[in-house]
């Protein structure tokens, strides 16, 4: 564990802290190796989950890579099913991006695949499985197959931020069951929720010292659930969303992370005590989603301060200078998300512009062209939509139609709202677009962009 007070860079080569996963072990021929295999995860002394994990740990090992420096990662599949690893947030060729739909080969049971790529852009990314689960809530993203991926910038002066300690935290939900929801459709409900695979009170605490600035890299790896996170007695200064620095860092009392979203935030440790960092909604914290934050020299029972509201707005991190006028030749792509009822005993099917995967289609992208994706969600479900191999800029949010400057790869399109993002088609190749909620993706919410 490294403890220091110095000017470091966001995403630098700082050593792992107590909450970090163990580093991946090196092999002679590859820089890193990941083994996918069955694993029994002890959430707490009396609760364990049989799942699949990378290198026998949940989350998988932290991979810290250098932007622009080629890396080779061997992935061996010790499970009974075909697998693939998606390097979420990187601008990679489709052959190694990690989506079968784009053309990345699946890894057969017992097989090994070698991923060789040059990571870019810098920032907090992650890697995870990218397979179909359907009604089997012990497969795909419902498992422990997720890990942190931090790409350090080529220029260490980029993304500078003071911090003394950094923690990586993965929020996840376990032991799900499809149940009928109030709106008549079926959705998973979970028995357990964890941070870094542990139920609140049963993992190692985050050990801090008074006066420290702590950098938290928080990932929501949940297959389907949004999470609201607060740290009792403290606030977060959000400096990056989905690994990309925000133009207007803000101090907030809580964070909202949709599935696959990441938040990097600085916390000033200026309120000594034993605190709980956890889910704001009581029933989910009661299911285990929380971790103790322990100041050096302090003892006692962890304290939680219950917020009364859920507060989050992307636009507060947007650039404050007037938005530049939109590109004149920008092309609008309206995408309407709707559900098709399939019975009270079945999950809804999802459509984009009236069609479900694999019938979904979009006009081919032209290299260099700027596009505006107009997400229209008249459905009664929220959708954390993800664009592979590209970043997009939030441009029109429900509460702020003139947003700009926030770059992300996942955005939550809330029910009954419309939201616009812009991106430049600058990475030719098949590009997958989908809802990152596993059950929505499995039920047709997926589309492939092709370049001309």
């Amino acid at each position: 564990m490294l403890t220091r007070r110095s000017l470091l860079k966001l995403g630098s080569m700082a050593a792992a802290s107590a909450a970090l996963p163990q580093p991946a072990h090196s092999l002679a021929a590859a820089d890193y190796a990941l083994d996918l295999a069955p694993y029994t995860l002890d959430l707490a002394p009396k609760h364990s989950i049989k799942t699949i994990a990378y290198n026998q740990q949940v989350p998988g090992p932290l991979l810290r890579l250098r932007e622009g420096k080629q890396v080779t990662i061997d992935v061996t599949n010790h499970t009974e099913n075909e697998e693939v690893v998606h390097w979420h947030g990187l601008f990679l060729p489709p052959e190694v991006d990690g989506a079968m739909e784009e053309g990345t080969p699946m890894i057969s049971p017992g097989g090994t695949a070698r991923y060789t790529y040059t990571p870019s852009p810098a920032g907090f990314r992650w890697y995870h499985t990218h397979t179909f689960a359907g009604t089997d809530l012990k497969k795909a993203q419902y498992t422990g197959m997720h890990g942190f991926l931090l790409i350090d910038p080529i220029d260490p002066r980029e993304n500078s931020s003071y911090y003394d300690e950094e923690f990586f935290l993965a929020l996840h939900d376990w032991d799900g069951e499809m149940t009928g929801s109030a709106d008549g459709s079926m959705n998973p409900e979970y028995k357990f929720s964890t941070i870094n695979g542990r139920i609140l009170g049963f993992g190692d605490p985050l050990r801090v010292k008074q006066g420290q600035r702590v950098l938290m890299h928080i990932l929501n790896s949940s297959p389907t659930e949004q999470h609201w996170i607060a740290l009792a007695g403290h606030q977060f200064r959000v400096i990056a969303l989905d690994g990309n620095p925000v133009p207007n860092p803000q101090l907030v009392s809580m964070l909202r992370l949709a599935p696959a979203e990441r938040v990097c935030a600085i916390v000033e440790m200026n309120h000594p005590g034993i605190w709980i960092l956890g889910e704001v909604r009581k029933h989910i914290q009661a299911a285990g989603l929380g971790i103790v934050v322990e100041y050096a020299g302090r003892t006692g029972k962890p304290v939680w301060q219950q917020p009364e509201n859920l507060l989050w707005d992307y636009s507060q991190f947007a650039a404050t200078d007037p938005a530049s006028s939109p590109a004149r030749n920008i092309i609008d792509i309206p995408l309407v998300f709707e559900s098709k009822f399939a019975g009270h005993g079945a999950p809804d099917h999802w459509t984009i512009n009236g069609k479900s995967w694999p019938e979904t289609s979009a006009a081919p992208l032209v290299h260099g062209q700027r596009y505006r994706l107009q997400f229209k969600n008249p459905s009664s479900d929220d959708h954390p939509v993800h664009l592979h191999r590209h970043s997009f800029e939030l441009r029109c949010l429900p509460k702020n139609p003139n947003t700009h400057g926030i770059l992300k790869d996942v955005v939550l399109v809330e029910a009954k709202t419309e939201l616009h993002v812009e991106f430049t088609a600058d990475n030719p190749g098949a590009t997958l677009f989908h809802c990152h909620q596993q059950n929505h993706m499995d039920e047709g919410f997926m589309m492939l962009f092709h370049y001309v």
Binding site: E177, R281, E308, F341, G343, H344, G345, A346
Partner: protein, 281 residues
């Protein structure tokens, strides 16, 4: 045989047949009267396995009209024909796997006015979600009193296993209920078998249709002849207009002599939560 003798023999046979016929009719009537008590027609519902959520209450009004039923006073029991039954059901959720229901049965009929008929209480437990069973399973038991004017068996007890399953647009439920008369003519019958079943189909998210089946086979040790069994088949629709409301309407036919022939039923239910739900709960 002389013609006169032959005619006397025929007359004797006719008298004998007539006596037997009258006896059969009387026995059938009594039998039907005994069975009809169990039919009830105060709450016509195939139970699903789910229970009411804790700290919430379900209020249901069961309205059942017997369009074509028993037209005669048998054994002191009012005829069911053109009886309008209004039953108030109050179900309180205890925890995530149990509830208690309470019934107030009433009857409206020309010549008798609006009468209180009786009350039942019905505790119920179910297999918790955390057990991850592939089907819904619960068990209810119901005990209560009905006035002898409306049911010869005044005190009855029932135990009702409930199994249900939704598969896509289809819904299946079975209620193989067992009944026991605690006070009344059927005490000697022992345990009776009164199954119910339902098959539903979701036409849309809001509109489902289906068939409900109710029966009373009599004693479990001496299953009654088909003629004496109660058999009712309802064509029903469930309207899922809101998670707070339950609406079920149907028309039923009773093809056996022991069953009311035509019944129209309706259930209107409303959930009330006693917890002020916060966004952070």
């Amino acid at each position: 045989m002389p013609l006169r003798k032959q005619l006397e023999t025929v007359e004797d046979s006719m008298r004998h047949f007539s006596r037997i016929a009258r006896l059969v009719v009387l026995l059938l009537g009594l039998s039907a009267a005994h069975l009809l008590h169990a039919q009830g027609n105060y709450e016509i519902q195939v139970y699903g396995a789910d229970t009411e959520a804790p700290k919430s209450t379900m209020l249901e009004l069961h309205s059942n009209f017997t369009a074509d039923g028993q037209k005669h006073l048998i054994g002191g029991v009012y005829p069911t024909n053109h009886q309008q039954h209004e039953t108030l059901e109050i179900t309180q959720g205890i925890n995530s796997w149990s509830e208690v229901g309470f019934y107030v049965f009433t009857s409206l009929q020309d010549g008798h006015g609006w009468q209180w008929v009786g009350d039942h209480i019905r505790p119920r437990v179910r297999v918790p979600d955390s057990w991850h069973w592939p089907i819904g399973v619960s068990l209810s038991t119901e005990v209560g009193y009905q006035r002898a004017d409306y049911s010869p068996d005044t005190w009855t007890w029932e135990i009702r296993p409930i199994v249900d399953k939704s598969v896509g647009r289809w819904y299946f439920a079975v209620n193989p209920a067992l009944e026991r008369t605690l006070h009344g003519p059927d005490v000697s019958q022992g345990i009776g078998f009164s199954p119910g079943a339902k098959v539903g189909f979701d036409f849309t998210k809001a509109i489902s249709g289906g068939i409900e089946y109710y029966a009373d086979y009599g004693s479990i040790t001496h299953i009654a002849a088909l003629h004496d069994q109660q058999q009712q088949i309802f064509l029903v629709t469930d309207l899922n207009v809101s998670p707070k409301w339950e609406i079920n309407v149907g028309v039923g036919i009773g093809p056996t002599a022991a069953t009311d022939h035509w019944i129209v039923k309706g259930i209107l239910g409303r959930h009330f939560s006693w917890v002020k739900q916060s966004v952070t709960d």
